[in-house]
């Protein structure tokens, strides 16, 4: 056991380095059908902040599925991966991703802490991952809707763009608790407020269907979880770059 831990401890930084080297383009595994990233929503505040001072401050608020346990979990989880990818893709930009991840936190609880987070981070973009804990706890979808609604209004009033991220696709627990009602609420709230919905559920499902990941697999290892988070980081980054039209800006500024 100790030996295994020692090997992991030595190899993990190496793996991270390798990932860093290889990360100039997303791994093939991370490919997402374009239709899942297409959106009409503009992240105009992100674009403005980027234009004026080449700065993007992103705050991630989420529950357990926004983090990873295990060695080097924080750096392998998607918020950190997103920061790395954005820094690479937007060379020279000042990108900062701050993650507020609290496992088992319902959306209502997240909203109650929102003012302080917004005041501290002063984000240009908030990525709000929600729904899983509410579905697990059986929070009434109407209450979930109200909380989400309040939160999105607060964030937008604070001058930040919003990305709502829905649940993970989890085939083993799919028949054990019902997430679809909560996913529907998130879609409706995003539409209502002109927020962007990052459809993690559909994206992960597409990975499972295409065979990129076998999400049915039972494993105690962290490899697959890290890869999935890496791909989510990539998918988020390309969604942000596309919706904020940062690629156009980048071409202009580098020319």
């Amino acid at each position: 056991m100790k030996l295994a831990a020692a090997i992991i401890a030595t190899l993990a930084p190496l793996a991270v380095c390798l990932a860093g080297v290889a990360a100039a383009a997303p791994p093939e595994q991370c490919e997402v059908p374009q239709s899942l990233l297409d959106t009409d929503v503009d992240l105009s505040r992100v674009l403005n902040a980027f234009k004026t001072n080449r700065r993007i401050a992103i705050t991630v608020i989420g529950s357990g599925s926004s983090g990873l346990n295990g060695p080097d979990g924080a750096h392998s989880a998607y918020p950190a991966r997103l920061e790395d990818v954005l820094k690479q893709q937007l060379a020279g930009a000042n990108v900062k991703v701050t993650a507020h991840v609290q496992s088992k936190e319902t959306t209502a609880a997240m909203v109650s802490g929102l003012d302080k987070i917004l005041a501290d981070d002063k984000p240009t973009l908030v990525i709000w991952q929600a729904g899983t804990v509410d579905a697990l706890d059986g929070v009434e979808p109407d209450d979930f809707r109200d909380s989400l609604n309040d939160g999105v209004e607060k964030i937008q009033a604070a001058g930040a763009d919003v990305i709502l991220m829905n649940m993970q696709y989890s085939p083993h627990t799919e028949s054990m608790f019902n997430i679809s009602a909560y996913a529907d609420v998130m879609r409706a709230i995003a539409e209502q407020h002109g927020a962007l919905l990052f459809d993690r559920l559909a994206i992960m499902r597409s990975w499972n269907d295409s065979g990129a990941f076998d999400l049915y697999a039972a494993t105690k290892k962290y490899d697959m979880a890290r890869k999935v988070h890496n791909c989510i980081g990539w998918a988020l980054a390309s969604q942000i770059i596309n919706s904020a039209r940062l690629d156009a800006t980048r071409v202009q500024t580098t020319q």
């Binding site: 009434e140 627990t173 039972a218």
Partner: protein, 431 residues
């Protein structure tokens, strides 16, 4: 007098039958003209009461049971054929409506012929049977969960695995399940059905005397439930997924139709205007549903419409869902007459047979959906496996329905067997 009590070789006199029809025009729609039976069958008078019933009910309930089974396997490619993808309502509405219809048909007759005590006792016995069936399903569900908890692990799903936490306190969980407060996903329909039946005797009593008043009362409860957020509490949080205060409307409406309401509506149902409205609404619902699956189309839905329309609430039987069911029913009644020859064809017989044993087949369907989902997740099933599992599931449901018929026949509840006291299972089929 119940027909299945009649001894072999006994032909009921036509006079009481006719008088029965005249006195109770409510029942007229159900009773097939005796002459027709005699013509179509040499033993017309001996046919079991099941031939009196509207086979369309069995057919559509059978189909609804198949659809519920298919919908309960998440990520099943065959789901694309189920009606929930083509409109607002789904198989649940069909099931609850037809259940109300048959409950009124069977217990309504019992209440007229044998009085309120006997009829109520039979309704309550039925509720008890459904309760036992529900607890049986719960046990199977617990076994599946416990197995997954013991064998499945993946750090990616650390959060989702919290669903298994309830295994840590079986004392609470099992009690809450017995109280019908803790209901695993997909196990919401039977508790709804139990509550609907518990309150059915007084409702039936009223329906037999003042059908319009009963229906109005039911509608009032529906409206009040919407206004004051009435629902039953669930465990660990929240409320029942199928709000009984809302869904009772569909059940009572079905019962009202069975007791003469359908007859009263028949003029309306024959009108071209109604048919036109029904078609237009079905088309509208289809177009809206399409936007859920084809994202780019969503932009064509005007903002005011979405603001007014969404959410389309299943828990509280959204009025859009109810209207969708009504439209579907209006169109169906129009194009599938009760004497439709295909109803006697061997191709539809399997669905009809499933519809006639609905409680057993419903439970079997929930179990098969668990099992199918389990197989898909254990062996990473692709589309082909999903299709095969869906087909095998439906075949098992059909085979079981025939097996149950065989048992009932053998035990003396069939047409040629010795007469036995009737029960809800055969006197007009399951409720």
């Amino acid at each position: 007098m119940n027909r299945s009590e009649q001894p072999q070789g006994w032909a009921p006199p036509s006079l009481p039958e006719r008088r029965f029809c005249r006195e109770n025009d409510a029942i007229v729609t159900i009773i097939v003209d005796k002459q027709m039976i005699s013509q179509s069958s040499p033993v017309g008078a001996l046919l079991p009461s099941s031939t009196e019933r509207d086979l369309r009910l069995d057919l559509f309930r059978g189909v609804a049971l198949w659809l519920i089974f298919l919908d309960h396997i998440p990520q099943n490619i065959v789901n694309w054929f189920t009606i929930r993808n083509y409109g607002f309502s789904d198989a649940t509405e069909i099931f609850i409506f037809i259940s109300g219809y048959t409950a009124a048909f069977v217990y309504g007759r019992a209440m007229r012929e044998r009085g309120i005590i006997i009829a109520s006792a039979r309704v309550l016995r039925r509720a008890w049977q459904i309760y036992v069936a529900h607890i049986f399903l719960f046990t199977i569900f617990m076994a599946e969960i416990a197995y997954v908890a013991a064998t499945f692990d993946n750090p990616l799903y650390a959060e989702e695995m919290n669903i298994l936490n309830f295994l840590k306190q079986p004392d609470v969980t099992i009690f809450q399940a017995l109280l019908l407060k803790f209901k695993p996903v997909n196990m919401d329909v039977l508790p709804l059905y139990i509550v609907l039946l518990l309150f059915f005797p007084p409702m039936l009593w009223l329906l037999l005397r003042q059908p319009a008043l009963a229906l109005a009362g039911s509608a009032l409860v529906y409206v009040l439930a919407w206004n004051f957020d009435w629902n039953l509490p669930a465990y660990p949080n929240g409320v029942w997924f199928f709000n009984p205060f809302a869904w009772q409307l569909l059940f009572v409406f079905g019962a009202w139709c069975a007791l003469g309401g359908a007859q009263r509506l028949s003029g309306l149902l024959r009108s071209r205007i109604v048919l036109g409205i029904a078609f237009a609404y079905l088309l509208f619902a289809f177009a809206i549903t399409l936007t859920w699956y084809v994202e780019p189309l969503a932009r064509f839905v005007p903002g005011w419409l979405s603001a007014w329309m969404y959410p389309i609430d299943k828990t509280n039987l959204d009025v859009l869902r109810f209207a969708h069911f009504l439209a579907l029913a209006a169109v169906t009644v129009r194009f599938v007459p009760r004497d439709w020859p295909a109803l006697r064809s061997p191709y539809l017989a399997p669905a009809i047979r499933c519809g006639q044993h609905s409680l057993e087949i419903f439970c079997l369907g929930v179990f098969l959906a668990f099992a199918g989902q389990f197989i898909i997740s254990e062996w990473s099933g692709g589309p082909l496996i999903q299709v095969i599992i869906s087909l095998i599931g439906i075949l098992i449901m059909i085979a079981t329905a025939y097996l149950i018929s065989w048992y009932k026949h053998m035990e003396g509840r069939g047409p040629t067997a010795r007469a036995k006291p009737p029960d809800a299972d055969f006197a007009g089929g399951d409720v």
